[in-house]
Symmetry: C2
């Protein structure tokens, strides 16, 4: 085929309509095809219209006849045109309605974005270690076996390289009783929770107890799986595990088959689960054939002491450990992990099914390499220092700007609870919106069927317990409070965000 | 805290059991914690056992008292031990049953793997362009905005960079009417089909017609969504779209709300859908408010002519286009895409829900960069040449070794249909197993409710149609046939696989 480029933008009239070829495409043939398709699609070339012979059109356009003939043939094959002996080439006989669709550019969100963001739940994305990650990609992809790029039959739990790296890391850093065979990779905590919800529902569980304050999205995920989510009260020692009742018991949480907890750092109120409560949760699971779902979303970030080890170690057959790279590295990786009781591994993999082979091999292999090479530990150490400084700056700034406002919760994670005078949460949030500061109130997290009045003022003081990490100089948060995500801003935005926060606090 | 490293592997007896510290961990404190946890977990330290005072144990072990005190405190916090004034430190009072779990190494699949693999559906994984991919990772991650690493709120359809790159590529290479707003990224064709099944079921569709021969997994996915899958016969022109009946019609495919097709290259029988059938499918969708699901799994790989453009271009509001990187690059990327009618975009994103934010940002951004930089086109051009040579070698080898066996299907994609003498498919597959050759028979793909006897011998010859691409010198495959995936082996395994195939064919 010889495409002639002599005429830079050839055009003619076909079936009474102007036909211009755009030669920017991959050649005149495809340019002619595009022009004819558009003319048919837009209704300018009506169904049944007879097209000029390839010889005529080629002469009109000043291009090779072969080019036109090839374009006609392909458009016939695609169904735009028909070609019959004796009847020539025509537009296919069918109505082709389509409204014009303007080409929309990929513009940024036109809605006004807040200038400062202190919403909880996200680490500082600017500190994602891009260059370290790129180096890990190179090492991981260079070393990977060929079949790492395949469908991963038999690897439904996730790549063995990643599960092996995680088993070592979690045992060492979080006291998790982990082996690669117990680990299932998922694309985020929410995905893992959805899979567990499916498994629990298949096991005829009807209720999963949750904290009275927690992420609404987590309750929704369980509800979508067909599970009710009775709330457990929180007090100075964390979740009231005594509300979990044994076999044959009665009350709000009777009939519960599992409980979702954040033992290392209650989200959002910020305490650690008291040791007796940790034991009580496991004891309850053993007595009732129940399951504890341990959401260890930021367990590595503890500032005043070594992190408390995972609850899962107490009974790996009764506790599902869930961890994520979303706080330690970046949510955009979409990588999280479950360490499961042995008897549940097969059921969880089955719940994933054929369609749920989620995470791409390159990202999985890279995280494995990132952990094995020690880059993950370095990243967490660096982040721990950075977030601790921010927490200290937050506490100092608030003590200075609003001495009557108190910061509560243990020194951990990426958020703090800022207690407000009664009745001022909503007005503070409104002031924040006016100032262009994205901010979350504590009431957002309250379980809808948990009565406001029965909030038990978690103080995270454990008077009977000697370790200083369970004591905090601040008073308990009342029902009016802010949940301040001090991890969210970039370093350059942090000072401004802190100033904006101080401005909107009730004086 | 001062950990003493003077004693490399300290040990003593605690509560009547030997306690040895493994100093390979992150220090003596954590080594002591590990040892105590293991002793409790293994039942060697019974519940209620009183532990020596921190002073005593420290002296016994020859380590600092602070180290022991810190370990005790943390184990109390984790719930392994209890500490009460006057009663000392004890093992927490609860039974701790756990059977020993041997540390299992990450060993390769112990089941014997076949020596050669000609199963269809996978490209040559050895040809994944690792170094090009790594370079694209570096460019993509260096240029990405910070919020690319976030949760991707508002990006539930997939990263805008990837959707923009795909819109351009699909319009140019496949004639798809695409815009970034119409595209939803998914983690594979199966995932996309599951989402569409959910949307169709929500729209009260009860049946999706499928080809009489196709992937059983696709039928299962639709069935799991609550959809029946009546089969459409195949003949010389591809899918018998005339079996799709209009509103008020009767017959096997009455009541169908959508049809799943592989128009460019029927899987597995290997023909292209005849232009009249393409038109008929779209006409049916318009007349019945139905939907065509176009599975364009290997549309780029056409060897005898330019690829036929996508059916979707005929009516973007009636056809869902589904493409994938699984054949063009590698299944391990878990990246595929849907180009949707405008009215369905919101419903598909809603079907994804909170838990289904699948693909990691690095892999998505890298594929976008890979496409935009031209590396994707280069990879496809190279692969097209490689697979075409293999197809020619397959045809030549079979003509030589088994002249009575015929290869059918258009010259396209990664598989060919090798027609066998009647009644010899099962014995040929058994012979292949004996020879260590993984091979798939055509009967595997037959719809269970499609009668064997009504197979209509698709010949992929279109006598009324002039273009040579619709003619093939070979005869139609009968019901006994092999579906040979000639893309699957690596270059080094290809010759051996071909020889093994020739050996097992009926003589």
């Amino acid at each position: 085929m010889t495409d002639s480029w002599a005429n830079p933008q050839p055009g003619t009239r076909v079936g009474g309509v102007d036909l211009h070829l755009d030669p920017r495409g991959s050649g005149l043939r495809s340019g002619l095809m595009d022009a004819l398709r558009e003319a048919v699609r837009g209704g300018r070339l009506a169904p049944g219209t007879r097209l000029p012979s390839s010889r005529t059109l080629a002469a009109d356009l000043g291009i090779a006849r072969n080019t036109v003939a090839a374009a006609y043939t392909e458009l016939v094959a695609e169904g735009w045109l028909t070609a019959r002996q004796g009847s020539g080439t025509r537009v296919a006989a069918r109505a082709v309605p389509r409204r014009a669709e303007p080409a929309r550019a990929a513009a940024p969100d036109p809605r006004g974005r807040p200038s400062y963001n202190l919403m909880p739940g996200t680490p500082d994305l600017a500190s994602f270690p891009r260059q370290e990650w790129i180096r890990a990609v190179r090492r991981a992809l260079t070393a990977a076996p060929h079949d790492a790029f395949g469908y991963g039959r038999g690897e439904e739990s996730g790549r063995i390289e990643l599960r092996t790296a995680l088993a070592g890391y979690l045992a060492r850093a979080r006291g998790v009783h982990a082996s690669p065979e117990r680990i299932v990779i998922c694309s985020g905590f929410a995905h893992g929770l959805a899979l567990l919800g499916k498994v629990l529902r298949t096991r005829r569980v009807r209720e999963v107890a949750v904290d009275a304050y927690g992420l609404p999205a987590h309750r929704s995920i369980l509800a979508e799986a067909g599970l009710r989510t009775p709330p457990l009260a929180l007090d100075a020692r964390g979740t009231r595990t005594d509300e979990l009742v044994g076999p044959g018991g009665t009350g709000r949480a009777a009939g519960v088959g599992a409980v979702l907890l954040t033992p290392a750092h209650q989200f959002p109120t910020g305490g650690a689960l008291h040791p007796e409560r940790r034991a009580a949760a496991v004891d309850w699971a053993r007595a009732t054939d129940g399951l504890v779902l341990e959401d260890d979303y930021d367990g590595e970030y503890r500032y005043d002491r070594q992190p408390v080890g995972a609850l899962q170690g107490l009974d790996p057959e009764r506790v599902v450990y869930l961890g994520t790279a979303s706080k330690s590295l970046a949510p955009g990786l979409r990588l999280a992990w479950m360490v499961l009781p042995e008897r549940l591994v097969g059921e969880v993999v089955a719940a994933k099914g054929e369609t749920d082979r989620l995470s791409g091999t390159p990202d999985q292999l890279t995280l494995a390499e990132f952990i094995t090479s020690g880059a993950y530990d370095r990243q967490i150490r660096a982040a721990r220092g950075r977030y601790r400084r921010r927490r200290d700056q937050l506490t100092a700034a608030l003590a200075d700007a609003a001495p009557e406002v108190r910061v509560t919760g243990i020194a951990a994670g990426l958020h703090a609870v800022v207690q407000l005078p009664p009745g001022t949460e909503q007005s503070t949030l409104a002031a924040a919106r006016d100032q262009g500061l994205a901010l979350q109130g504590l009431s957002y997290f309250r379980h809808p069927s948990f009565p406001h009045s029965s909030f038990q003022h978690p103080s995270f003081q454990h008077p009977s317990f000697p370790h200083p990490s369970f004591q905090h100089p601040a008073a308990p948060p009342g029902p009016d409070a802010l949940v301040v995500g001090y991890g969210t801003p970039s370093d350059s935005a942090w000072a401004g965000a802190l100033e904006a926060l101080c401005r909107v606090l009730p004086s």
